[in-house]
Symmetry: C2
Subunit: 195 residues, 2 copies
């Protein structure tokens, strides 16, 4: 509830021009309550990354595949799940809310920076799921390089998807970005996609 008011105000007046106190007033609570639910102002906007979801998908991939393929499939799959199941409310409303947050995220430096840093945490989760940090340093390095590159490509897809106002399918967009970066032969269309 607080978050909905926050995003609305941020869109209306701009992120920087809106104070946390104003968000609190709009939501009918005290500023302190806002901070208890959202540790920082940025957290009022940033989209949930669902690290766990991605990690599960990574584990489910075949170790026969190259790293980029495994990570790419997991990301595409996770995106599909995230978009389709939404957050429990009206799906269309959810998509619009997600798009509004994404647009803020892309256009506001502070939000963009923190989001990119969150991706960094997701990268670590992916490497962990790949078992990369277990032993060899070189294996870990390769996993980190592949994961970071895949996440960067995914971010490009997110930006494009937001620019298109969600008209296209997000998983397809991610696949397209991965193909652009890594080439056709390495990228699939999701774990259960038709190839």
């Amino acid at each position: 509830m607080i978050q909905a008011h926050a995003v609305r105000l941020f869109v209306e007046r701009g992120y920087d021009a809106t104070t946390v106190t104003e968000v609190a007033e709009a939501a009918g609570v005290s500023p302190m309550t806002v901070y208890r639910h959202f540790p920082t102002k940025e957290d009022l906007v940033l989209v949930d990354q669902n690290k766990q979801l991605v990690a599960e998908r990574i584990v489910a991939t075949s170790t026969d595949q190259p790293l980029v393929r495994r990570i790419g499939d997991a990301l595409i799959d996770s995106a599909a799940t995230l978009v389709s199941r939404g957050y429990g409310n009206d799906p269309e409303e959810n998509t619009q809310f997600l798009l509004a947050r994404l647009r803020l995220m892309i256009s506001t430096p502070a939000l963009r920076a923190k989001h990119l840093d969150n991706n960094y945490a997701l990268q670590q989760a992916i490497v962990d799921a790949l078992g990369g940090d277990a032993g060899d340093d070189d294996i870990a390095f390769n996993a980190h390089a592949a994961a970071s590159a895949c996440l960067a490509a995914m971010h490009t897809a997110l930006v494009r998807w937001a620019e298109d106002d969600g008209q296209t399918e997000l998983p397809d967009m991610i696949a397209k970005a991965l193909t652009a970066a890594f080439g056709d032969e390495v990228v699939g269309t999701g774990a259960d996609g038709q190839e």
Copy 2:
């Protein structure tokens, strides 16, 4: 001079535990002077990206090569230039200073976030240098995807280089990261390297 004091204090006491006022006192100036030279506290640490340098290298690459190859070569080349020519002082001292800043950048969330966002600006510069934003939307998209993925891999190399205390060669590390992400056939060893 201000920056040197800042980095020293940040290393000694921690970034968050050091106030800008303390930096100013250490440097013998007023806090306002610090802000005039460095718009934000983060800027006291963040390493110069030299967007222009990278852009020039991009333009110098052959358009016959795949995007990732062109960007990768430019990044490797730029890193070599940056490390070798330093900042005018003692090269060893420069390397240590660079390493100190990198370590802070990696371990401090606020710095890491802003640095990743700076990479995002570098990505735009690369796409511009590639001529990506001139016409077709799809071409721009491919350029963004490739550039972001290359920069992410480079970041992995930076982290590893810092962990190794600069023992390895940074350009080699970047080449290694690019190879890990994109495969052997797409990555060179710099524009004038031996292949």
